[in-house]
């Protein structure tokens, strides 16, 4: 069953993040992906994440799909204008990429090419709208396409939403986002409040997939709090890592427990490991997935 079918049928989905290589050699990426093969419904392939230049997700998705992986291609608004984005999307459709995850993209000064021109010709809402248009066979200028796209698109969201952020969330749904992958969740209780907010706003048809970052140590938790906007590892969790004699095992256990709790709350989980997927399979097994 495809990722789309599974999510639409209400089954709990599991996706995991994979980064394209910094270079031309995909063997490391393929090795990483093989660790989680058959344990996840799709691999989510990042687009110059944290504004660090890597191989294009289009090429990386193509390599992964040749080995039988279903992919979700990330697409940020940072690096391409509306011409570039649309031509990339037509190319992706031709190469058989079915799923997209749209986001604004971290600002260039956060990454390794600080002087790069920030594009942001479209924002994430406008890009989702553009994809909906390509799906109906028309480009952003109203021209007809020879062959339309059939993308299943999603967007991202923080779980702590201000009123204006909630309004943007609504615009993403209206513009065609069929699923939302959230920033990393650490507290199922607080995440439930986010789900209530979404439900109260009437967006019940959208699949909500909770982001999971399995922690490895006290240091990794502090790194996330300092460097990733929207991520907040609770202080008591940091203290547990600080006093633990086996932080690695604790991280696996906490992630598995959290996934177990989330199974009754949302529609899927998305694993974003720090470094490698070596523990992902174990976490999923412990969570009974």
């Amino acid at each position: 069953m495809s990722f789309r079918e599974k999510l639409l049928s209400g089954k709990f989905t599991v996706t995991a993040e994979i980064s394209p290589p910094k270079g031309t050699d995909v063997s490391g990426m393929m090795k990483e992906a093989r660790i989680i093969k058959d344990a996840v419904d799709a691999v989510c392939v990042t687009d110059n994440q944290r504004a660090i230049m890597r191989m294009s997700p289009l090429a990386a998705c193509s390599a992964l799909s040749q080995e039988g992986f279903e992919t979700i291609m990330h697409l940020t608004c940072r690096d391409r204008n509306r011409l570039g984005l649309q031509s990339e999307l037509l190319g992706a459709a031709h190469l058989g990429i079915k799923n997209l995850l749209v986001m604004s993209g971290d600002y260039p000064t956060k990454g390794d090419h600080r002087g790069a021109k920030p594009v942001y010709d479209l924002d994430s809402v406008q890009l989702l709208d553009t994809i909906s248009s390509l799906n109906s066979g028309i480009d952003l200028s109203g021209n007809s396409l020879e062959g339309k796209t059939e993308f299943f698109s999603g967007a991202v969201s923080n779980t702590q939403l201000t009123e204006v952020a909630l309004m943007k969330f609504g615009k993403k749904i209206k513009a065609g986002a069929r699923f939302i992958i959230t920033q990393a969740v650490f507290d199922a209780g607080r995440f439930s409040e986010f789900m209530d907010k979404i439900r109260d706003a009437g967006w019940k048809q959208t699949g909500i997939i909770a982001g999971i970052i399995p922690l490895r140590s006290e240091k990794s938790a502090q790194f996330l709090n300092k460097n990733i906007p929207g991520v907040k590892v609770p202080d008591d969790m940091i203290r547990r890592f600080a006093s633990s004699s086996a932080p690695g095992a604790l991280g696996i256990e906490l992630a598995a427990d959290l996934i177990n709790e989330l199974r009754g709350i949302c529609h899927g989980v998305h694993i974003m490991p720090i470094g490698t997927h070596e523990n992902t399979r174990k976490i999923l097994e412990m969570a009974g997935l």
């Binding site: 604004s104 942001y120 924002d123 923080n158």
Partner: protein, 206 residues
């Protein structure tokens, strides 16, 4: 008002190869911001002389970007003829307009940053993105093209956390837009999806 900042002196020195220099300041924006008024021009003169350059003269034009008669400027400042190069302490507009009038090479002493203003004696930066299709009323009078580093049209990006922008120390303008629209009783306009900007309006010369 055009917002500019003074270049590093070492960079000015590196660029200016000529020996005989005439300095031009600007009586408008650069004076107001203390980057190209009389005190700054005199300081520049001192530093250039201290670095072995010959400053043949200096002046503060009332506006470096509005030159009604270059002949009049020349008659009031005959030393300009003796200069091999001009160092202009104004925004890029002033530097360009002067470059079109003079025979010598014109060097900029400032870097132009944004279009701003003065509010209760405080210089405010990045007030207008010069997009060529102003719809600031839809954002409670706060321009997202210039205030948001990503120019987001439909709400804050994921880098906006607890009112803070991910890019630098600035506040996220989207929280400010929300507050302003709430005060104006127009919060519902935030629900409208804004179309992409028409960039052909930005620099079109028709």
């Amino acid at each position: 008002m055009i917002i500019s900042r003074l270049k590093e002196f070492k960079d000015i020195l590196k660029a200016v190869k000529e020996q005989n220099i005439f300095i031009i300041g600007c009586g408008k924006c650069a004076t107001k911001q203390h980057v190209g008024g009389e005190p700054e021009v005199l300081e520049m003169k001192k530093r250039l002389r201290g670095s072995g350059k010959n400053v043949v003269g200096w002046t503060i034009l009332s506006s470096a970007c509005i030159i009604s008669s270059w002949d009049e400027v020349l008659s009031q400042n005959p030393e300009i003829e003796k200069a091999e190069a001009l160092l202009v302490m104004s925004c890029g507009g002033g530097v360009s307009v002067l470059s079109a009038n003079v025979k010598q090479l014109v060097y900029p002493a400032l870097d132009t940053e944004s279009l701003g203003g003065v509010c209760r004696d405080e210089v405010v930066k990045e007030q207008c993105g010069m997009c060529g299709e102003c719809d600031i009323h839809l954002f409670g009078g706060l321009c997202p093209v210039s205030h948001c580093p990503k120019g987001m049209q439909n709400g804050p990006c994921g880098g906006s956390v607890e009112g803070k922008c991910e890019v630098d120390e600035r506040k996220c303008v989207w929280d400010e837009i929300q507050k302003r629209l709430e005060l104006l009783g127009r919060l519902e306009v935030l629900k409208d999806i804004h179309e992409p900007k028409d960039h052909s309006k930005r620099r079109c010369r028709e």
